[in-house]
């Protein structure tokens, strides 16, 4: 069985950024395993721009953003294998990948989970109706249009105001399709405000909040969808049904971290984020297995994925060099106003950035981090949206004692 200090599962933005940073921190015995035939992950199909403002101070397309990291991986000669799908990961960090050359078996000192996320499907949200062709998740439609030169339809309705859905509304319009509307179940948009402006308003595509698809029509190809208003319990209001004739329904109804391998290795997941429970070092509860990027929690900007992965790499390098990291036993508890936090555990002896999202749009409030009843940090906001991840730096010198931290939103 071959050996490696660090095995990175996934050659997307998280895996690439971590590889480069590990190298700079002196860990050079790295192996990136990528299931597709080239590095870059989902960025390959994101041909729109807007990437890189935080990380590089300029705006890039997805492939350009990925290329910056790929170039460094190539330059530093960091080993990677493409067309290699990890089929098994064990708790003692043995990695098995299927490739055309055979089953690759590696014993790693440390493993980074960087598998990204998958899209929530029609089945996951139980949309009623027939099952014709023409119903796609936004990412699949994006892949067809941007990578395979296959046009998925002409008369389009979009369910869900996720970022990819809005980007696809613009993309399909630019390719000559007619996007009738975007419908969102919640009373607020789930994607970024800049995408509402640039992808919908600029193209006169209406966004209807508190609406959902309640029937799918057509046995062969999609013929239409029935849309209903929903009440405050998100249940369809009878009598509000309206039929939209269309041949394409695009779903942009959420992303779920892809953690099947993590579960197999015994990693504990957080029910709220659907990603691993990690500490300030991005280490999971299986020693030596780390996670960052969308496999950990869904990010709104790839820049934050890279930066999170770079922080992970710093801790992972220390772990490989020193054979372990200090224990992190303080829990971070949250009230019902934030979905979850990353990390969920800290040592109390090191500065860290606490990432979270609010559950619903809020105005003129503050997020208060306390320990033992004492305020550690207070973060004031004018506006907080579920679409925008909040990251709060917490300084080590403010922490003391062995009590768990609490995160409360005051609004």
């Amino acid at each position: 069985m071959r050996q490696a200090d660090a095995v990175i599962i996934g050659g997307g933005p998280a895996g690439l950024a971590a590889a480069v940073e590990l190298y700079h921190k002196g860990i050079t015995d790295i192996l990136i395993l990528e299931r597709e035939s080239s590095l870059g992950g989902i960025l390959k199909q994101c041909i729109h721009d807007g990437f890189g403002l935080s990380r590089f101070g300029e705006t890039l397309s997805g492939p350009e953003y990925a290329q910056r990291f790929i170039d460094q991986v190539e330059e530093l000669k960091i080993p990677y294998i493409t067309d290699a799908t990890v089929i098994r990961l064990t708790g003692d960090k043995k990695v098995y990948a299927a490739s055309r050359e055979g089953i690759i078996e590696i014993q790693a000192k440390a493993v980074m989970l960087a598998m990204g996320c998958r899209e929530r499907t029609r089945g996951a949200i139980s949309i009623p109706g027939e099952r014709p062709a023409g119903v796609w998740t936004a990412g699949v439609a994006q892949s067809y249009i941007n990578l395979q030169n296959k046009m998925v339809g002409r008369e389009v309705v979009i369910l869900g105001s996720g970022d990819i859905g809005m980007i696809m509304a613009r993309r399909m319009t630019l390719e000559g399709a007619h996007v009738q509307a975007v419908f969102e179940l919640q009373p607020y948009a789930s994607g970024l405000p800049r995408n509402i402006e640039q992808c919908l308003r600029d193209y006169d595509i209406p966004l209807y909040l508190s609406h959902t698809v309640t029937d799918i029509l057509g046995k062969d190809r999609l013929e239409g969808v029935v849309v209903s208003q929903v009440d405050e319990k998100l249940q369809p209001v009878p009598g509000t049904e309206k039929t939209y004739h269309c041949d394409t329904l695009i779903l942009s109804v959420g992303l779920i971290p892809e953690n099947e391998l993590s579960l197999e290795a015994g990693v504990t997941l957080d029910d709220r984020s659907k990603g691993a429970v990690v500490d300030e070092n991005y280490q999971t509860d299986v020693e030596g297995i780390f996670a960052a990027g969308n496999v950990l929690h869904v990010h709104d900007l790839v820049d934050f994925v890279s930066m999170e992965a770079e922080k992970l790499a710093d801790a992972m390098a220390r772990y490989i060099r020193e054979g372990g990291l200090p224990p992190c036993e303080l829990d971070i508890k949250t009230d019902g106003n934030v979905t979850h936090t990353i990390p969920q555990k800290v040592s109390g002896k090191k500065s860290f950035r606490l990432a979270m999202r609010v559950r619903r749009p809020m105005k003129d409030g503050a997020i208060e981090i306390t320990q033992d009843g004492k305020t550690v940090k207070r973060y004031k906001f004018k506006k907080a949206l579920p679409a925008e991840m909040i990251q709060i730096p917490v300084e080590a010198e403010k922490l003391n004692g062995e009590a768990p931290l609490e995160v409360n939103v005051i609004c």
Partner: protein, 485 residues
């Protein structure tokens, strides 16, 4: 005009079983199917249960065929190389009323010849499945689970390799009697045959009438299902049914599938339209509520998909009573075999029914035996089911086994290619799915569908606007986004 000795109308499980049993003889056989693949109707829309035969009226064709079909299935599964598990079944009860209703079925089962049924106490129940609720149960060791689509495909492929020809997109419009032959009109072409076997499932009554038999009244009992993630099925080893109600029906239950998922359902309600397969909010909500009571892993995060099927039962219009399967060959309509009202337990009964149907032809004509008939068919070998050593070996022999296309179900390029080049010539995305399980996992094709359509296009050599999802007009793409320079 194409000529055959026999036309089988309908490529559901019964039609494919009939074609397979016919192919034991030196006959030219065609199977006329209106869809683009086998098992597009209710053969692929059920629980996938190999029934033991304890709920059907003694002496009925249902009872006789179910018991016969159940007993032989280990051999059938082995011959056809399909996944099958003889799991047994538990019918659990809590009180005396439950016991009474369960015992009724035990008596019926024994009369039908179901072997090994026994009442077991809580201790024994917990030994068989610690997760089963209930104070006592009837244990039925002969029940089993299978993949009804794989089974139908296997029967069809076996029939095909033994000489039967499958004609898809051939909806039967009219049947004409001309010079001792039947001329079957379809939109694709006319077909001339000597014998007709009506295996048209939900449309069997219409075909029955075309052949000169009555247009038997049938009533559609639709049931909806939830398919749950394999994570929900980890602990589930054996189908557990609640005690039957006083009318003898089973309320919503959870059944493991042979692939490790869990099906919750079916419920039951009457519908009019033949192919009303839409799933509805009302019934999905109902399944969720009822399912939660009997299966603790019925959680939203495990939802993968919904589907529905319809049991088209023959009934007596005067009394409303549900009638037995109809299998007849009346000399007034020479050289025809009529199968109507074949519903649950149609999967279990398919081969026994097929033998009885084919016997009608054999008794009359004594056709020569097909000397080259081979009852064995090889399925597509699954990477997922292999040990690490077997995987290593498979990749060495065929590198396509090392390229994972569907991540959730770990389906490789080798399997997809075998499915694309299947013996029946089916090339829809659903066809590939039902042969390999690709797109059946939790991401529902999010990762692999684009790769599968690409392979279909390249391997079959068709343009993107010819790729179909499942049905005749289910075209997936309007064309290229832009012309390539």
């Amino acid at each position: 005009m194409k000529c055959f000795d026999v036309a089988v109308i309908g490529a559901g499980v019964v039609g494919c079983a009939v074609a397979r049993e016919l192919s034991r003889y030196s006959l030219s056989i065609c199977v006329l199917e209106k869809e683009l693949d086998v098992a597009c109707g209710n053969s692929g829309r059920n629980t996938g249960m190999l029934h033991a035969g304890f709920t059907y009226r003694p002496g009925s064709l249902k009872a006789e065929c179910a018991v016969e079909g159940n007993r032989e299935f280990d051999q059938v599964a082995e011959e056809l190389d399909i996944p099958f598990k003889r799991t047994g079944k538990l019918v659990v009860g809590f009180d005396e009323k439950d016991r009474k209703n369960i015992l009724k079925y035990k008596v019926i089962g024994e009369e039908n010849g179901v072997r090994g049924m026994e009442m077991i106490d809580k201790k024994r129940l917990n030994e068989i499945d610690p997760n089963a609720g209930g104070e006592f149960a009837m244990y039925v060791p002969s029940s089993g689970i299978l993949d009804p689509m794989q089974y139908t495909i296997a029967l069809a492929e076996n029939a095909c390799m033994n000489g039967a020809e499958f004609l898809f997109d051939h909806r039967v419009l009219e049947i004409e009697r001309r010079d001792e032959r039947y001329i079957i009109h379809t939109p694709a072409e006319d077909v001339s045959v000597r014998w007709v076997f009506n295996c048209a499932g939900m449309y069997a009554s219409q075909i029955s009438e075309m052949l000169g038999y009555p247009n038997y009244p049938v009533k559609g009992f639709k049931g909806e299902y939830y398919v749950l993630d394999k994570k929900a099925g980890k602990e589930m080893k054996i189908p557990i049914y609640p005690a039957p109600n006083d009318k003898g029906g089973f309320s919503t239950h959870a059944t493991p599938t042979v692939d490790g998922n869990v099906l919750v359902g079916p419920d039951s309600y009457v519908v009019e339209e033949s192919e009303d397969y839409k799933v509805t909010k009302e019934h999905m909500d109902g399944l969720f509520e009822d399912g939660r009571k009997v299966f603790k892993e019925m959680k939203r995060e495990y939802f993968i998909r919904n589907f529905s099927g319809i049991r088209w039962k023959r009934y007596d219009p005067e009394t409303g009573a549900i009638l037995d399967f109809m299998l007849e060959a009346d000399e007034k309509n020479p050289c025809t075999v009529n199968l109507v009202g074949i519903e649950s337990p149609g999967i279990t009964c398919a081969l026994p029914l097929a033998r009885r149907a084919v016997a009608k032809l054999v008794e009359k004509e004594h056709p020569a035996v097909n000397e080259s008939f081979n009852p064995r068919r090889k399925g597509i070998r699954r990477f997922l089911d292999m040990s690490l050593e077997e995987k290593e070996q498979a990749v060495k022999e065929n590198p396509d086994y090392g390229e994972v296309i569907c991540r959730c179900e770990t389906v490789t390029r080798a399997e997809i290619l075998q499915a694309v080049h299947n013996p029946l010539g089916v090339c829809t995305v659903t066809g590939i799915k039902n042969r390999t399980r690709a797109t059946m996992g939790r991401c529902q094709g999010g990762y692999c569908e684009t790769r599968i359509t690409d392979l279909i296009q390249k391997e079959i050599g068709i343009s993107e606007d010819q790729i179909r999802y499942s049905r005749k007009n289910s075209y997936m793409f309007t064309g290229k986004v832009r012309d390539e320079k």
